[in-house]
């Protein structure tokens, strides 16, 4: 699923500058970064409510392509700058994690399990 399709489906906002013309093969919804590192596949979308810089590091290490923050959470500039440096697009949506995940699942974006 392309990032542009995800943005449309969730009425999401792009928080970073740079290329969003990418696609993801899976999605992983989690607030536990160790679970992300244990279960999440490469080329995934991370759906989370955590907004600290180490979430971007986790994504970088795990080969995650983009991060979606739920419940309209907005990271600070440190997180955004790190994401731009690592070329990991950040999105946010007003939807909760359950709804955002459910909508993407209906679009056949499967989980990592």
């Amino acid at each position: 699923m392309t990032l542009k399709e995800i943005i449309t489906a969730l009425d999401a906002t792009v928080l970073t500058e740079g290329d969003i013309d990418i696609s993801v093969q899976h999605a992983c919804s989690a607030d536990l970064m160790s679970d992300v590192l244990y279960y999440c596949k490469a080329n995934s979308l991370l759906i989370t409510g955590l907004i600290q810089p180490h979430v971007v590091r986790t994504a970088e290490i795990a080969g995650i392509k983009a991060i979606l923050f739920v419940q309209n959470k907005k990271p600070d500039i440190t997180t955004i700058e790190l994401a731009q440096k690592k070329k990991i697009p950040l999105l946010n949506t007003s939807l909760c994690m359950y709804k955002a995940s459910g909508i993407l699942f209906k679009y056949d974006l499967n989980g990592c399990g």
Binding site: M33, S34, L37, A42, R57, E60, I61
Partner: protein
């Protein structure tokens, strides 16, 4: 893989409690391996195991050091810290067992998956800990497929 540069060694200091720069050492290791042309799946395994070890230093210890060595046969990562040590290493290796405080869990860590995940991603895994002195984790990943 570019073997002309082998072997390569390096180290990084890790400061405990600093979540803002958490992962920088692991990111650097990942960059080194990418520049060497190491296989992408192996890089991901090493990066994940290294990051988990780095995070354990940040969560539990005052400070630590990460060493890496790359040869044409293997990659070795050693992370040693000046932390409290682990009282029961067998329990610490169980998925879900954690002694992390609440504030660490609120930041998304301390789920008790770190050490098992290191072992899962490494070809060899050694854990040595002395209560009151610190913990050392040593991992190797083979670069030659058997």
């Amino acid at each position: 893989m570019n073997q002309d540069k082998m072997p390569i060694e390096g180290s990084f200091q890790i400061i405990g409690g600093n979540f803002t720069t958490a992962g920088e050492a692991s990111s650097e290791v990942k960059t080194v391996l990418t520049d060497l042309g190491v296989d992408g799946d192996i890089i991901r395994r090493i990066a994940i195991a290294t990051f988990e070890a780095e995070m354990n230093v940040i969560i539990y210890a005052a400070a630590g050091q990460l060493f890496y060595e790359v040869t044409d046969e293997y990659i070795k990562i050693r992370v040693q810290d000046m932390g409290p040590g682990i009282e029961d290493t067998n329990r610490a290796m169980q998925e879900g067992y954690s002694t992390a405080p609440e504030w660490v869990r609120n930041m998304g860590w301390g789920a008790g998956m770190g050490l098992p995940n290191m072992k899962k991603n490494a070809d060899t895994f050694l854990l040595d800990s002395v209560v009151g002195e610190g913990t050392t984790v040593e991992m190797t990943m083979n670069l030659i497929k058997e």
